[in-house]
Symmetry: C2
Subunit: 573 residues, 2 copies
Amino acid sequence: MGLTSEDQIFERPGAGRDRDARPVSFQVEPGRYRHWQLAVGGPVATLAMDVDEHGGLQDGYELKMNSYDLGVDIELYDAVQRLRFEHPEVRTVVLTSAKDKIFCAGANIRMLAAAPHAWKVNFCKFTNETRGGIEDASANSGQAYLAALNGTASGGGYELALACEHIMLIDDRSSVVSLPELPLLGVLPGTGGLTRVVDKRHVRRDLADYFATRPEGLGGPKAAAWKLVDEVAPRPAWDQAVAARAAELGTRSGRPASAPGIALTPLDKRREDDQIRYRYVSAALDYRAGTATITIAGPDGDPPAGPAGILAEGAAFWTLALTRELDDLILDLRTNELELGTWVIKTAGAAARVLAYDRLLREHRDDWLANEIVLYLKRTLKRLDVTSRSLIALIEPGSCFAGSLLELALAADRTFMLSGAFEDIDPDAEPAAMTVGPMNLGPLPMGNGQTRLQTRFSGDDAALAAATEAAGRPLDAAAAEGLGLVTFAPDDIDWDDEVRIAVEERASFSPDALTGLEANYRFAGPETMETKIFGRLTAWQNWIFNRPNASGPDGALRRFGTGQRAHFDRKRV
Amino acid sequence: MGLTSEDQIFERPGAGRDRDARPVSFQVEPGRYRHWQLAVGGPVATLAMDVDEHGGLQDGYELKMNSYDLGVDIELYDAVQRLRFEHPEVRTVVLTSAKDKIFCAGANIRMLAAAPHAWKVNFCKFTNETRGGIEDASANSGQAYLAALNGTASGGGYELALACEHIMLIDDRSSVVSLPELPLLGVLPGTGGLTRVVDKRHVRRDLADYFATRPEGLGGPKAAAWKLVDEVAPRPAWDQAVAARAAELGTRSGRPASAPGIALTPLDKRREDDQIRYRYVSAALDYRAGTATITIAGPDGDPPAGPAGILAEGAAFWTLALTRELDDLILDLRTNELELGTWVIKTAGAAARVLAYDRLLREHRDDWLANEIVLYLKRTLKRLDVTSRSLIALIEPGSCFAGSLLELALAADRTFMLSGAFEDIDPDAEPAAMTVGPMNLGPLPMGNGQTRLQTRFSGDDAALAAATEAAGRPLDAAAAEGLGLVTFAPDDIDWDDEVRIAVEERASFSPDALTGLEANYRFAGPETMETKIFGRLTAWQNWIFNRPNASGPDGALRRFGTGQRAHFDRKRV
């Protein structure tokens, strides 16, 4: 059987304004789920995978055996987010399957085989991020994920289980966990599987090696003895064992027993010509220059009073609203605007108000909702860190790079800050300022476990101390440059040229080399399991995805299911 | 101008016995250097790069401006090794150029443009290893490297300087350091440059970003202010400043003031049909199965008495002899035998003697030569860790996997240990045993800073403690399996089938996917600058090397110097 060609299945918008294909949307809600059943009742929620075979995001493949594509993952991400914000009472999420004998067969192979390289990379990145979010819920939000594998979990299905705090496998002499990617497809279990097996679950590396070359997987007590799962239970005892474990996991949680959640109402997002607009976030797309200029507006007024005020505002609360908008924009641009290689980041508003919102969240970190908002902002900024676009921050008069919004500048590859004012716009304008705040000193760490300031001043403790000591004071360009908080601080006369040259130069370089450069420079200092997944594992997987042995016409990914063996170039590289 | 095609320049031996191309040899000696001048006199040695334009390893390119290819690097590696063993009196190595106004222009671009992917990857790996060896000399051997950049150091030339403990740059208004790979070639500074700039020299990431996109580089006081170099000196003061710094670096060394070195005499290496034989190491190559079976023989007798005995034996001392042989074999097989994807590792000899040699070295670690031998074994085992071949260790009766040689089994992806004896060979043979020794508990760390035992039992302190506690006792298969020191322990009846299936399976898998799998599983636990270079940075570089934007006919690497601009697919991935 032949595969549908890439072009037929994966029409993506190209550069320019004429588009045939509809862009991928990341906005969904439980009422529109095609692939998941979400049941919430008290402290235990059940999220059951029930993939609609005919509900693929593209035509040309069928999502059999609970295999997934990006569309399935978008719903999963939505469910994970809503469980945190809309259901404070949920302490354990049981992740299971609504189908018999199969938990999840992993990413759909025909989809992967037909997908262009960039699609595969983006898809895996988003999948990784959602799994990181599941771990973040278990670790920081008191919402533990229990993988209840009521059937076989293979490939990405097992990798999804690996992101859960506890894995149970039904012991029925047929259900197994497996990582068959290498023997069957010639690629890696690339969404965290290899790293989590040895670095999270501490499976011995030689056993892990054997496991990952054994397409038939392992089940029963041996899977538990090798630490691939935490426990097994026979079918007659299954429901009771899962319920008991879910209850037990819930006892560790500090989430409120009875608090109302907030509704994640639909985003007000508009696309007009080459502008994308939300309430606080907007983006101007320039296809000729290859840029998206993203502007984030500060709060319209003072923050509400205390946790009750945050709860009352709900999804309209400034920090939450802008985080949701920024999250959606990052995913939209990443997936739908591949040729906009540089994102120029600006802010507009009053720094004092940003800091006031920050202060409110910091002071009430013990409130479940304030905590969730900070964690969500943290995850969204991490998304920026692993985005393969050059990030240039522009700090101009009227901007509000302070505290939480200063993180955007600290995440950027380069930062320009205007010295003085724009003489021909408003010569009397207050010069640009930036302010380091408490949000820059701990609550929003990168994937490497360090703050962006720590990473910036990696190995230079004096510079880090000086920047920390400056917290709370508005810093003009000279002060910020002196502290090493901006890259360049040109004045009005040089500003336009310097910025233009930087943006034009960036557009002239090899996009691939920029991706590699940024993936290395953004993560100075220590590595964690998370950065190993996004750096080491992902880079090797991307290399393999690009090689004829996997993706060529005779490669394993293309030949799978055809009855023909893959043809490999046997040179070891 | 057109480039000579890959096939013309880079004929490598293929699989099978008929070969046209001569294999690359890694054996050289100062009298045969074409590209380096080594001057030793007292505590300061000078290693001056003076590349012979017409001395390229292949035809088809000229090594202008002190640009290098693998042949230049092989001589550098030899010099670094000899300085350590033959010149204990040398405390500072001044690495400089014998040419005017240029230190080194980096890897030769025409060579890179024409080289097949596997060649580029192997070349960069070896270059990285030599640079790691330079850092090891500075850190652990009291032999500091001083980069005296008497002219421009660009690309790999600057990366070579980055491996030195101290970098001086001549301040003459024209000499600069630069990383022009990204803007000029569409690839990364891929031999440690990106990682060392931010993780070793602690250049701020945004300045590092700017630097790596600026082909004209930076010189003078600004290069020092940005921490790209440690100091600059004007031409009139240059010689004196370098001499003063070299003397100062030497004062930190604990190397003996006047001790004789040992001669690294030529290896006795023979190739007969598909056998490679040295004194203690041999390899049987099987092109049909795609395997090399490597056997390492233990010592012939007891070790000599004390440091004087080691010195008297010199290059014939067992540990040093086998390390040199294994080092050469690894490089030979990696470079010349790309299709032998699995290395089967065996040992033969008396474990007690291996442990006696280990003990001698451990007890005299304060002796410069004993120290050098252990450090060399450490580096050679690290080479095995980053080798893109599947490693399978077989522990059979008559083997001597103990202490330093047990590291070979611990480095393997899988280990098989025979339970009992081979009934049809020698039913009365002493069953196979392995012994954990002090050499497994610290002196031979991997690149991640952990011992192979720590990495094996990453996150399982009890298992690590049990294996450590067993040190000194010969362990039979059941005991070794119980302690988690071997993967499988089949008996005589199952042995042949189990081993055969494992080897055949390995040969059937995608070579690329195996490389990715092993690169991830071998480095459980923490990451270091070194593992970041071999994991994160190298994986991204390999991906980029494989992409049309770099290596395609219109890619930047191919188009460089043709007057034509590269054509890039602008999609960011």
